[in-house]
């Protein structure tokens, strides 16, 4: 029965390779998560802006030859107990100019809550050129009961912004993360 043994050996070889392929593909599925994040970070395709404050560039030239309209939209996550709006719905600005826009959030509940805002820029490519020197979205926002908070956001558009972009939208979603953050009571009480 050497034939049969030979056959079994051949089979074992193929099976080992196939099982390895299965394991590799399972790992690949998970590897796609960081790959996707990195890809989006490099290309701006998913409209995320940087999560850390950008430096203002000394001697940045304001490109007065063109103006760009920046619109602001806000949304509260489903069930989040507050209202959230920008002070102004849209501004026009030159690339290179530093602007400040305030966002206002009102906590309607009698409890201390924790909020987290997430930005998104459309079109996605523009997210690479929208630089924030200060933003409430960089940190979790503690909201005391019935508090109305005015939250500043300062930003500029990189003068390298493609000239095809005349109008862009910066949108924020305000999530309620009270349940995820254990020490909300103490944080908000400060």
């Amino acid at each position: 029965m050497t034939n049969r043994q030979q056959q079994n050996q051949d089979n074992a070889g193929v099976i080992t390779k196939l099982l390895a392929a299965v394991v590799i593909m399972f790992a690949f599925g998970f590897a796609l998560v960081p790959l996707y994040e990195k890809f989006c970070e490099l290309t701006g395709f998913n409209g995320r802006t940087e999560n850390i404050a950008a430096m203002t560039i000394d001697g940045m030239v304001v490109d007065t030859s063109r103006t760009v309209t920046v619109e602001f939209t806000t949304r509260t996550d489903r069930g989040a107990p507050w209202s959230f709006r920008p002070e102004t719905r849209s501004i026009t600005m030159h690339p290179g100019e530093l602007k400040q826009v305030n966002f206002i959030v009102e906590n309607h509940t009698n409890q201390n809550r924790m909020a987290q805002a997430l930005p998104s820029v459309s079109p996605g490519e523009a997210s690479l050129y929208l630089n924030k020197t200060e933003c409430f979205c960089f940190e979790q926002q503690p909201l005391a009961a019935k508090e109305t908070a005015v939250m500043p956001m300062r930003f500029y558009l990189d003068p390298d912004l493609p000239t095809s972009i005349h109008r862009l939208t910066l949108s924020y979603v305000m999530f309620d993360i009270t349940n995820q953050v254990k020490d909300v009571a103490t944080t908000a009480a400060r």
Binding site: Q7, V14, V22, G29, Y36, E37, T43, N46, Q116, I177
Partner: protein, 531 residues
């Protein structure tokens, strides 16, 4: 195709232990023919079950307004219909056909891994039991569509999602084991002289399908695991609040999902490539181009996934890339259609039931393919996305494509499986009833879709009422036509019919026709020699 010097295998049957009888035979069987039979009956049962869910959907949609069921139950029906038809009906049917036919086609005594074969079948009923039982949990079963997009399946689903995830894991394991078995069998157990380029197309298409399964089922397992941990263990793969991205879900899902649709059609191509030459009495036109076309379709299937997501706001560059790649798939598919038509050209054709289904496949699958090209064009997809046009498209490729080919295969090989000829009159009746009703069912969906009727809603605007009534009538006609199929197959299983010769089809080619009908329990203990 190869000519064969085969010997009758009956003489060797005596070497084997006698098979156990009764339920034990089926529970413990490691015989590829028994397991094939189990798979085929299981998939037929699932086909009827998933079909009855579809009829619940069509019942509700017969008239506008809410009539019979609650919207949440409607959502469960669409979800279960999709999952059962994909993972319970079409895929197991193909695995069943592979089990029955591959060893006989390549001259092997059995599948390479018979015990794993048993296991990969027997975990399936449990997977579906788990999934179906979730419908009786508080809050009901999965209601987020078979695509289980996050956040529907994470933030907005019920606790039964855990059962959905586990049953998907089990189905995935079953598919992966089936695929490993097919690859090992085809690679290692071909009869002497049967080179790869002498294999029947069905073996080729299944080999390629098995590689697709190995590549993408683990990714599906990963995605459902992420859904599980997002929902129950506080991870944020797909939750924007926690730094994840819901669109990532769609990328991961369709990275699995698009190869998956080819998993459900490539074996069909193999079946049709066996049947058309047999009844046109001509060898298959362009055998090697068929092989290369199948391989290129499989390769391209990994580069088109985002055409399911054109409306998610992708950059223009990505839209164009995925559009062109999608268009490109039409080329190898066109090669196949061309080859089948050319095989029929000037053949001396006869129109027995398998051939009727095969010809209907070629015509109707092409219609589904063309509406697929329309959907692949990015700007028009913005109109068609998530409408009944999409439903029409994928039911043309899956029902009149995959399911019709499975029925063609059943009629074509049932004489070999049962030893009796099926009832040709009933078979033709089944075909014509199915052909007419399936078009009443799915063709008007193109129109309501173009007019803007969205999918996945239990209600619709009044102007769609007439066409929806027609669609529902077609649905019930098609559903009940399948009872004819059941009668035909049960009659064969009960050996009622004319005894079938070893080769009942004059123009049929291949090793499976060199063994007697019904095929003995053990075939090709001594490998045949293929010249």
């Amino acid at each position: 195709m190869s000519t064969v010097v085969a010997e009758n295998n009956d003489a060797h049957a005596g070497h084997h232990h006698s098979k156990p009888t009764g339920i034990k035979r089926w529970l413990f069987t490691t015989n590829h023919k028994d397991i094939g039979t189990l798979y085929l009956w299981f998939s037929f049962f699932m086909f009827m079950l998933g079909g009855s869910f579809a009829l619940v959907i069509r019942m509700e949609l017969f008239q506008p307004g809410m009539q019979i069921i609650e919207p949440h139950f409607f959502n469960q029906m669409t979800t279960m219909h999709g999952v059962i038809m994909v993972f319970g009906a079409v895929m197991p049917a193909f695995v069943g056909l592979a089990n029955w036919m591959l060893p006989m086609m390549i001259g092997a005594p059995d599948m390479a891994l018979p015990r794993m074969n048993n296991w990969s079948f027997w975990i399936l009923p449990f997977a579906f039991l788990i999934m179906l039982s979730s419908m009786f949990m508080p809050g009901g079963g999965p209601a987020f569509g078979w695509t289980f997009y996050a956040p529907l399946s994470t933030s907005y689903s019920t606790d039964s999602t855990a059962l959905f995830v586990f049953s998907m894991h089990i189905m995935g394991m079953s598919s992966i084991m089936g695929a490993i078995n097919v690859i090992v069998t085809v690679v290692n157990m071909r009869a002497p002289g049967m080179g790869f380029m002498k294999m029947p197309m069905f073996a080729w298409t299944w080999l390629i399908t098995a590689f697709l399964l190995i590549a993408v089922m683990p990714v599906l397992a990963g995605v459902v695991t992420m859904v599980l941990t997002d929902k129950f263990f506080g991870t944020s793969f797909f939750s924007a609040a926690g730094g994840g991205d819901p669109v990532l879900f769609q990328h991961l899902f369709w990275f699995f999902g698009h190869p998956e649709v080819y998993i459900m059609i490539l074996p069909s191509f193999g079946i049709i490539s066996a049947i058309i030459p047999a009844f046109a009495r001509k060898p298959l036109f362009g055998y090697s181009s068929m092989v290369y076309a199948t391989a290129s379709i499989a390769g391209l299937s990994f580069l088109v996934w985002a055409h399911h997501m054109f409306t998610t706001g992708m950059p223009t560059f990505a839209l164009l890339f995925f559009m062109y790649m999608t268009m490109l798939i039409a080329v190898p598919t066109g090669v196949k259609i061309f080859n089948w038509v050319t095989t029929m050209w000037r053949g001396s054709m006869t129109f027995e039931t398998p051939m009727l289904f095969a010809i209907a496949f070629v015509v109707l699958f092409t219609i589904g393919g063309l509406s697929g090209i329309m959907l692949g064009v990015t700007p028009v997809d913005y109109q068609y996305h998530d409408t009944y046009f999409v439903i029409a498209h994928f039911h043309y490729v899956l029902v009149t494509g995959a399911v019709f080919s499975i029925m063609a295969a059943a009629y074509y090989w049932i004489p070999k499986w049962s030893g009796v000829m099926y009832d040709e009159k009933l078979g033709k009746l089944h075909f014509w009833c199915s052909l007419v009703s399936v078009n009443i069912l799915f063709f008007p969906m193109h129109f309501v879709g173009l007019a803007g009727m969205p999918r996945r809603y239990p209600d619709y605007a009044l102007q769609f009422a007439d066409l929806n009534a027609i669609i529902s009538v077609g649905g019930f006609l098609f559903g009940f036509s399948q009872l004819i199929f059941l009668v035909v197959m049960v009659k064969c299983a009960m050996k009622k019919g004319e005894p079938a010769p070893a080769k009942p089809w004059e123009g049929a080619e291949g090793l499976e026709w060199t063994v007697p009908s019904p095929a003995p329990y053990h075939t090709f203990d001594t490998p045949p020699e293929v010249k």
